[in-house]
């Protein structure tokens, strides 16, 4: 059928609300985003399907990622009148026991992450909580109340982990496409733009430009207007866009459709990274389904509005996340940015007015339209409204995607939600904003996270990557790592970026190799300052940030490398060596067994010794030792 009205949406959704919340048999939701699959979810899914499901009449379903990546594979089991339980680390070998246990009433409590209190999204306040009247399980915390989820508010990720991403009907059942049909039938384009403006939504891709203003400017310019979704999520360590595309692709399509109505465009493009094959696959399915229901195509809902979406895959170029480079790449050209004397909203793709937002930005739009601008603007800080998804990764106990209101402190994210640094190591810094961002030291942990506060300390929000670093991370090496990344990714057309980065890399490599000299730090600062002023595009002007912030906050580490020829973190191979601390060594022999060079020897239960001549500093012993007996000198 073709959806013509809000009533049609309700009719189709009705049956699926039941399937989502009150299934007729036990239902097993397995988190199958790429991270889940890599952790073993697909194998568990196959096992359950082939060996158990058909015999026992249960529903085995896939969902996207609910965010707590550390605990994957995540499997949720529920059934009519029973609690909804989220199990963690459920691999192939555990899944049948978990499900049969659940059915028999033995809940395998040691595998439980939590039980759900309320599975509805924040758009579904019109239906009662499906778990009303269900007796919760004794002694098991509510999922929404465990530290990882407690401070989260899911707007952009409202459906991730709750619905089957390959089912448009389940998306309908969670109020999907309602905002679009409302906007299409009952709102003026100018009113839609006003709502987005009033919500204070700013671009979630990095720049933080006010979305409503962008839409208004694009709508003002005449010509064949285009809507582009930037899904070229290139910041290493940031994967919220992948997760949204893999978990809830329709929210992005709906956001683009609403932008199409508001701006007056009939053609959309999604430029997605080639490294995200599953996201591409789910997007293709989603677009076909939307076309099937007449939500994409010609004369949508009989209004005369037409909109089509094409997918274009990137080919591995970080710079294509920059809007003008992305548009060049969409045209089949080399992805080089151009100077933005004329903005892309006026002349972008094919020299036409083009509105470009990223995945997370579009995913927010339907929720804003349904709940209202005031609701959205009620969250966050004065100039950064709403929520933001962060990917909390690196040296952190609870790796995962967290969506929190803007303005929450770094400390809250790292320690309460993230559970702090593992293995009792010492926190050193958190890196935000990817290769364009900076490293923020411990003393700024109380900083409220929003666009402006992060810039004040020399970093940026970027797309929301937060990489936690501990005592084993060398900050000079981190700076060298980012510059090395950027040397590869610089498009090479402007001098400051191309040559500046190359020179910085040479200096940083020298410092890491123990050949640093006095004046190197000042030279790095000078080159960095020059690039900030004169590089052509955003990538170039922000490229020195990782170097400049590490110099600003961790100058002592640079000095140790340059003057004392020491790498205190034990990363720069030429500047340290491993030694076995005879006081701490128990002689367990686990390091000796693993050493690929056979450089460690000793008698059982007696302190071992390391032969420096054979050691290649691969670090296997350092990781293997449970007694902190391998020391960095």
């Amino acid at each position: 059928m073709k959806i013509q009205s809000v009533l049609d949406l309700k009719t189709v959704s009705q049956a699926y609300i039941g399937k989502l919340y009150k299934p007729d048999a036990v239902k097993v939701n397995i988190g199958m985003a790429s991270c889940g699959i890599a952790a073993g979810a697909k194998a568990a899914y196959d096992k359950l399907l082939t060996e158990y499901a058909s015999k026992n009449g249960i529903h085995v379903c896939q969902t996207g990622c609910i965010g707590f990546c550390e605990a994957e594979p995540l499997v949720e089991i529920f059934g009519l009148g029973k609690p909804r339980i989220m199990y963690q680390h459920i691999t192939e070998d555990k899944i049948v026991d978990a499900v049969s246990g659940f059915i028999a009433g033995d809940f395998n409590k040691k595998w439980i992450l939590g039980q759900m209190k309320d599975p509805r999204s924040l758009l579904e306040t019109d239906i009662p909580n499906p778990l009303d009247g269900v007796q919760p399980l004794d002694g098991i915390p509510f999922l929404e109340e465990i530290p990882f989820y407690k401070n989260q508010v899911k707007v952009a990720m409202r459906n991730c982990g709750y619905i089957d991403p390959d089912s448009i009907e389940e998306y309908f059942a969670r109020k999907g496409y309602l905002a679009f049909i409302n906007a299409l039938k009952d709102m003026n384009p100018a009113d839609i733009i006003d709502v987005v403006k009033a919500s204070g939504l700013r671009g979630r891709g990095g720049g933080g430009f006010p979305t409503g203003i962008k839409w208004a400017t694009a709508a003002k310019h005449h010509g064949n207007r285009y809507i582009i979704c930037n899904a070229d999520e290139g910041d290493p360590g940031a994967y919220m866009d992948r997760s949204i595309l893999e978990g809830d692709p329709h929210s992005v399509i709906e956001g683009m459709l609403i932008a199409g109505v508001a701006i007056g465009s009939s053609q959309g493009y999604i430029y997605v990274r080639n490294e995200y094959p599953l996201a591409v696959k789910r997007l293709i399915t989603a677009i076909k389904q939307a076309e099937g229901y007449g939500l994409l195509g010609e004369n949508i809902a009989g209004t005369g509005f037409s909109f089509n979406i094409k997918i274009s895959t990137g080919a591995g170029a970080f710079v294509c996340g920059e809007s003008t480079a992305l548009m060049a790449s969409l045209e089949g050209k080399v992805g080089r940015p151009r100077a933005k004397y004329v903005h892309t909203v006026e002349k972008g793709f094919r020299q036409s007015p083009t509105n470009l937002n990223n995945v997370e930005t579009y995913a927010n739009v339907p929720a804003i339209l349904l709940k209202g601008a005031n609701w959205y603007a009620g969250m966050g800080t004065e100039r950064s409204k709403g929520t933001k998804v962060f990917s909390l990764v690196g040296k952190i106990t609870h790796t995962g995607l967290v969506e929190v209101p803007m303005g929450i402190s770094l400390k809250n994210i790292v320690y309460n939600i993230g559970g702090g640094v593992p293995k009792k190591k010492k926190f050193k810094a958190v890196q935000t904003g990817g290769p364009s961002g900076g490293c923020i030291p411990e003393r700024f942990l109380d900083l409220p996270v929003d666009f402006d506060k992060l810039s004040e300390v020399g970093s940026i929000m970027g797309s929301g990557g937060m990489i936690v670093m501990d005592q084993d991370t060398c900050m000079v090496d981190v700076a060298r790592y980012f510059v090395d990344f950027l040397v590869d990714e610089s498009c090479g057309q402007c001098n400051p970026c191309r040559e500046g980065l190359k020179q910085m890399l040479e200096i940083l490599t020298r410092i890491c190799n123990g050949d640093g000299k006095d004046g190197d730090i000042e030279l790095l600062e000078e080159i960095g300052g020059m690039m900030q002023k004169f590089a052509l595009c955003g990538l170039g002007t922000s490229a020195p940030n990782p170097v400049l912030t590490t110099i600003l906050y961790f100058k002592n580490e640079y000095e140790k490398h340059i003057r004392e020829k020491k790498c205190p973190a034990g990363v720069c191979k030429k500047l340290f060596h491993y030694e076995i601390d005879p006081e701490a060594c128990t002689g367990c022999g686990s390091c000796a067994r693993k050493c690929p060079q056979e450089a460690i020897a000793g008698e059982k239960k007696k302190p071992h010794a390391l032969d420096q001549g054979k050691c290649i500093k691969c670090g296997i012993c350092y990781d293997a030792c449970k007694f902190n007996a391998i020391a960095i000198r």
């Binding site: 290493p236 360590g237 895959t313 080919a315 591995g316 690196g394 040296k395 790592y481 296997i620």
Partner: protein
């Protein structure tokens, strides 16, 4: 070494031009705006971008071969050299880096005696590095073909490589 075995050179008579036509015409409408996706499809078919295929493509969609070369060398996905049976992509994203991804990378190089973008003599493996595949919770991550291996330490690599013959 015969000409066909030389990396980067495929003999013209080995190129399946009908398949090329199918990709360029049927899948991508002879449209030069689709160049990047056409190249991806050619690479999926041949495992790399053979020169005769690119020369054919240039005539077919009407853009200079130099421009196609420019695009093929700008984007890191593309390889002008024949690649091995198994593609090892070591994730060099930041999360993997701080969790020891560099050491994993070095260990692979050491075990196979090749460095980035090189292929082993027996054509078994090609080593590449990739900028973050978004599986940061599993870092350090190595992807071999379509399989993602997570939380690996350098001493486990040999065992993983042994699974691919």
């Amino acid at each position: 070494m015969s000409e066909a075995m030389e990396p980067g050179k495929a003999r013209t008579d080995e190129i399946d031009f009908r398949e090329l036509d199918r990709i360029i015409e049927d899948d991508f409408n002879n449209d030069k705006e689709n160049l990047i996706m056409i190249l991806q499809a050619i690479q999926r078919h041949f495992n790399y971008l053979p020169r005769p295929a690119l020369e054919y493509l240039a005539v077919k969609i009407g853009i200079p071969a130099s421009q196609i070369y420019g695009v093929a060398t700008f984007y890191s996905t593309f390889s002008l050299q024949a690649r091995g049976r198994h593609i090892i992509s070591v994730c060099t994203g930041t999360a993997c880096h701080v969790r020891g991804g560099e050491r994993v990378h070095e260990r692979v190089e050491e075990l196979l005696s090749i460095s980035d973008n090189q292929t082993t003599a027996d054509k078994r493996f090609t080593l590449e590095s990739v900028r973050c595949i978004g599986c940061c919770s599993l870092g350090p991550v190595v992807k071999i073909n379509e399989d993602t291996h997570g939380r690996i330490s350098s001493d486990e690599i040999q065992k993983i490589l042994d699974q691919y013959v």
